[in-house]
Amino acid sequence: MTTFGIYAVGAALLLTIGIRGALRRKHLLRRILALNIIGGGAFLFLVLLGYRESGEAGPDPVPQALVLTGIVVAVSISSFAIVIARRLNARTGRTELPEEGLD
């Protein structure tokens, strides 16, 4: 297994764990954490695409730049989501979304 393979499997696992968590957990904070873990998996794979095992040219800077903007956007959007969840909690005492019609 190559270095690329090790991290690629890691990215796949992060995406899977995150998707499962986001779909199965009810607590909103956990769901937001799960979304961030999905983001981490996606970022990992993107950076990996620019990784060069060897060679004179260093790692590809383009995916790195994209992921850098991604990290900053992810933190701002997830803190916005957390504020919404906290307002819901303060208004209704809920920590979960209501689920009418789903059961």
């Binding site: 991290y7 995150g18 607590h27 956990r30 790195q64 903007t69 701002s76 803190s79 957390i82 307002r87």
Partner: protein
């Protein structure tokens, strides 16, 4: 099997275990702590993959901003709660089968993609002299893909406006953390704050040559502001609302302005003339760093929920 590979496997294993714990820990606050550790581990991964720019940003955001935001939210939303309910739309075996299928598909697809073989790195290298910076990531961010980064600064602005719009009536950051921090904490902060400001300046200046840049500098500044907010002296409360709004917008506006200057000098938007590129990029980066710092610290400082102050002291 080399030692490098063993290390990479252990690191990936640690990241995956941390991710699984963060979501599935029985007690919410345990999951939140493990999530903070997850961020730190991810920055180790960026170091291993040759992306120190990302590692610095992840470290500053993960250790300084995300941690404070999620801990504050967990306090409000039941940090000691043990029940960790899950949706039970599907029977257990079916959901596990679906999970395994998703995992296999992702792993299969990722593994068929071989390492990038494009010539992008060479092309980035070839154009560097015309951009005026030596750090390739900074060049991509501010020059080659100026639109992306400009809009990203716009996304930050939108998030900040959203948080401000959702603010509880009468809530001010100055009122959120009212306690008597021990003198030790204040003293340590007095030593760390100048260090942080220095570090941000260094990262901003360094960004044209090595790892660093506007986002890293802004994130470090924001983390320092978060620390001060936690200790009951939020920097954001020291400026008027109008000044705060101006600081929020300055990155977005300045980016566009410099881009338009490039147009008047005969290029396309964000196509800086080579002779002027280096100072123009530094001007953009300085303004963006300020806006990132104010936005990220505001996301924490103004992120409290309505009625927080009346909730009583029992967590």
């Amino acid at each position: 099997m080399t030692l490098e590979m063993l290390f990479d496997m252990a690191l990936v294993g640690a990241v995956v275990v941390a991710a699984a714990y963060a979501i599935n820990a029985p007690v919410l606050i345990a999951g939140v702590f493990v999530y903070i550790v997850f961020g730190v581990l991810l920055s180790l991964v960026w170091v291993r993959l040759g992306a120190p720019d990302l590692a610095i940003a992840e470290a500053a955001i993960g250790a300084g901003i995300t941690g404070a935001i999620v801990l504050d939210a967990a306090r409000q939303m039941g940090m000691e709660r043990r029940r960790n309910p899950r949706l039970r739309r599907w029977p257990g075996w079916l959901s596990w089968a679906a999970t395994a299928a998703v995992g296999v598909i992702f792993a299969g697809v990722f593994l068929t993609v071989s390492e990038g073989r494009g010539d992008l790195p060479q092309r980035v290298q070839a154009e560097l002299p015309r951009v005026g910076v030596e750090n390739e990531v900074t060049a991509v961010l501010l020059s080659y893909r100026g639109y992306d980064t400009w809009f990203e600064v716009g996304v930050l602005l939108v998030a900040a406006l959203g948080v401000l719009a959702l603010r509880a009536p009468g809530e001010s950051p100055a009122r959120r953390f009212r306690w008597d921090p021990p003198a030790v904490a204040d003293g340590a902060a007095d030593m760390l704050v100048p260090g942080g400001i220095l570090m941000a300046g260094y990262l901003l200046w360094q960004g044209s040559r090595g790892p660093g840049g506007a986002f890293q500098a802004g994130a470090v500044l924001a983390a320092i502001a978060v620390l001060l907010t936690l200790l009951g002296r939020p920097p954001i409360a020291r400026v008027s609302d109008r000044a705060r709004d101006a600081l929020l917008v300055v990155g977005f506006a300045d980016f566009l302005l410099v881009g338009l200057v490039a147009v008047t000098l005969g290029g396309a938007l964000f196509e800086y003339p080579p002779a002027w590129a280096a100072p123009m990029i530094l001007v953009i980066e300085s303004a963006v760093a300020v806006s990132v710092a104010v936005t990220l610290s505001l996301l924490f400082a103004a992120g409290g929920a309505a009625g927080d102050a009346s909730e009583g002291g029992v967590p």
